[in-house]
Amino acid sequence: MFPIPFRIPRLKLLLSACLSLLLCFGFAAPAWAFCGFYVAKADTKLYNQASQVAIARDGDRTVLTMANDFQGDVQDFAMVVPVPTVLEEGQVHVGDPSIIERLDSFSAPRLVEYFDDDPCEPNRRFDQDALESRAVFSAPPMPQQLSAQKLGVTVESQFTVGEYDILILSAKESSGLATWLKQNGYKLPRGANALLRPYIRQKLKFFVAKVNLEEFDNSGFQNLRPLQIAYESPRFMLPIRLGMMNADSDQDLMIYLMSPQGRVELTNYRTVEIPSDEEVPVFVKNEFENFYTSMFDRTHEKEGRRVAFLEYAWNMAGCDPCSANPLTPEELRQAGVFWTQSSDRSGNIGPGRTPNRRVFKNNVFLTRLHVRYRRDKFPEDLMFQETGNQQFFQGRYVLRHPFKGEAKCAAGNRYRREVVQRQEQEAQTLASLTGWNLDEIRRKLPKVEVNASSWWDGLWKKSVEQSSDAAKREAAGGWWRSLWQ
């Protein structure tokens, strides 16, 4: 007989005939290029560069946070995001702008420094892990007309949240929706019609947001804050197709995925770990951003431009080394993590709730995916799945500073030779990772003085004092002098 399944929810999900057809798609302004096109009120020149999205998901419940780095005049800002159901006012929230920055800095690829010990004093150990820098990515009132009904467009609800006026629309035909949006002053990119159709046919509602100038002025904020929406849907995906209408070039999307289970991966594209734990020359410290972007470009190219890169996967409870402090429970809540709320937030364990259960529910595993997509290589929207894989991963690059003291002993000479070899290896690693010119890299390497040595150097053992004397004499010149003493 077939064993009784322990993971009932999955089976339930599968066999349940009454699962609703919930979908989430989005398309929006440049800052949100992942899910859409910009619909400007004026002919503002805009272009898509990079977007950042945070998704907190447990079961079918999802909180989507869309960072807003819109640079133009706020009155030109408008966005359209298809949503699975008619969203009520309570399902939409204006988030804290610092949350995405916190997620970014916590999970960013990092540079780690180690300082070599004095080779003449091997017992004195002090490894100093110093986190120097991290890659910083530039993250990338509505009039209604009589024709709405004729066009097959229904205004399901409308409300104001923070500085945004929100409209929830449903549509029967893409041409109707496009006409309605145009009539109401939204500027649609060419080709929007054809791309709206698949989403309308899947019976989506459309979340339309624009800035309420009065509220914006009252809010006192300089920039637009991120919008957050909460919905329940078995479908775990991000629409990127619509976002590619604004630009033919590559677009970068940073996705911060939070789950109580483990890593999140793509199911319809390969998810590849970014090269990590590589030792690179110390001068990279001053040009880490340049290094990381070059390495990313090259790796992206090597993988045929059709994969998503994993840049970070770690439990939120800790980090090693930390590029920023882990998010506090309050910050996690602001980022959309809702499952930790089920336990008592004051720390008390309620009746019937065991401590282990509480710990489990407080688990937040963060996955950072970096997708660089283009129309020809990413034809389909991004589909994700949660996995139980709790393996940690981080983009980590190591600098090893040579010992700067005199190191006059025999071991010191050997050490210097090793440093030269190591530097050569680091230069080659850097060249292969970034595609930079190897000779130019070599020119940038710090010079290490190494005396010529012979195979017989280590044959006749000398005391440490003798070795130090020998080192002095070596410095005075004559490769043979240390031999005949």
Partner: protein, 301 residues
């Protein structure tokens, strides 16, 4: 050199290296895919997991075979069948992702023991041993998905590159031609592609979306090496077509209505019990691996 005339033609003839049993080919190709995945796709698959899968499968087969022989008093006539459990272990390693050897062992034990525990005797053919109806690797995968927290299918692990698809098709075709189950793959792929094409057309997506959905390496591996297992699928060719079409339809529904990324494995699992029914409705001689077919002593693989 005396036997030159004997071995030279064997050396040149295709298939001479791998013998007459189609499973030898299958083992060679699956090993090759595994190696390809490990080297070019950078899978996080440890040798312990692959070793664990192979060892557990072989051991379970040995134990089950021994027990089964004892029960039916056929001890002397049964030789150890190592090919089938090896194929199952390779299939599990290719398709199932786990974080611990224990999880893989659960999958392997479930896979192999399902062949001995879940089988069915076709009415009117009392002379032949009962036939198992779950594909062992599929049964192992679903068991691990249900019972453990770390087992998963990674449908995106191969990417959607054309040459992988071509390679799978070519090599899978080679095995299937020897087994004679090409029709199942064709029926499955044609029905599934047809359904996806219809949906694509209705939604208004461009052709490259369809192509991307169909060129998934995991889907092709399934179509060529799992849904075609001649020992567990219906014997009658018409029944097989019907059955493969039903799997394609269920996969389509699970994927597009219930958003299951591993839909294809669930579809096969759910519809596998239809095999006895179809064998009863459409009677036909069952498949045996060895070319000079053994009659009654062959223990189910």
């Amino acid at each position: 050199m005396a036997n030159f005339e004997t071995w030279m033609p064997r050396l040149i003839a295709p298939g001479a290296w791998l013998g007459q049993d189609a499973r030898d080919w299958q083992i060679a190709f699956l090993s090759m895919f595994l190696l390809l995945g490990l080297t070019t796709r950078a899978w996080t698959l440890s040798p312990e997991v692959v070793g664990g899968a192979i060892a557990t499968s072989l051991l379970t087969q040995y134990l089950c075979q021994t027990l089964s022989s004892l029960a039916s008093n056929r001890v002397a006539k049964t030789s150890f069948n190592w090919r089938s459990p090896l194929i199952t272990a390779l299939g599990l390693s290719l398709l199932l992702r786990v974080d611990s050897v224990g999880t893989m062992a659960i999958a392997a034990i479930a896979a192999i023991s399902s062949k001995f525990l879940l089988r069915w005797n076709t009415p009117g053919s009392a002379s032949t041993p009962p036939k198992h109806f779950f594909n062992p690797a599929n049964f192992g995968i679903i068991t691990a998905l249900l019972l453990t927290a770390d087992a998963r299918i990674s449908p995106g692990q191969w990417g959607a590159e054309f040459w992988y698809g071509a390679l799978f098709l070519a090599l899978g075709g080679l095995v299937l031609r020897r087994v004679g189950r090409w029709d199942t793959t064709v029926a499955f792929l044609v029905s599934y592609a047809g359904l996806e094409a219809g949906r694509n057309l209705w939604l208004g997506w461009t052709g490259d979306v369809l192509l991307h959905r169909l060129s998934s390496g995991s889907l092709l591996l399934f179509a060529l090496f799992m849904v075609t297992d001649p020992r567990s699928i219906p014997n009658h060719s018409g029944a097989r077509m019907l059955w493969a079409g039903a799997i394609a339809l269920l996969t389509f529904i699970l994927r597009n209505v219930y958003f299951q990324s591993d839909a294809v494995f669930w579809a096969l699992f759910i519809l596998a019990p239809l095999t006895p029914l179809l064998d009863w409705l459409f009677p036909k001689d069952r498949f045996e691996w060895h070319l000079p077919r053994l009659s009654s002593v062959e223990v189910s693989s």
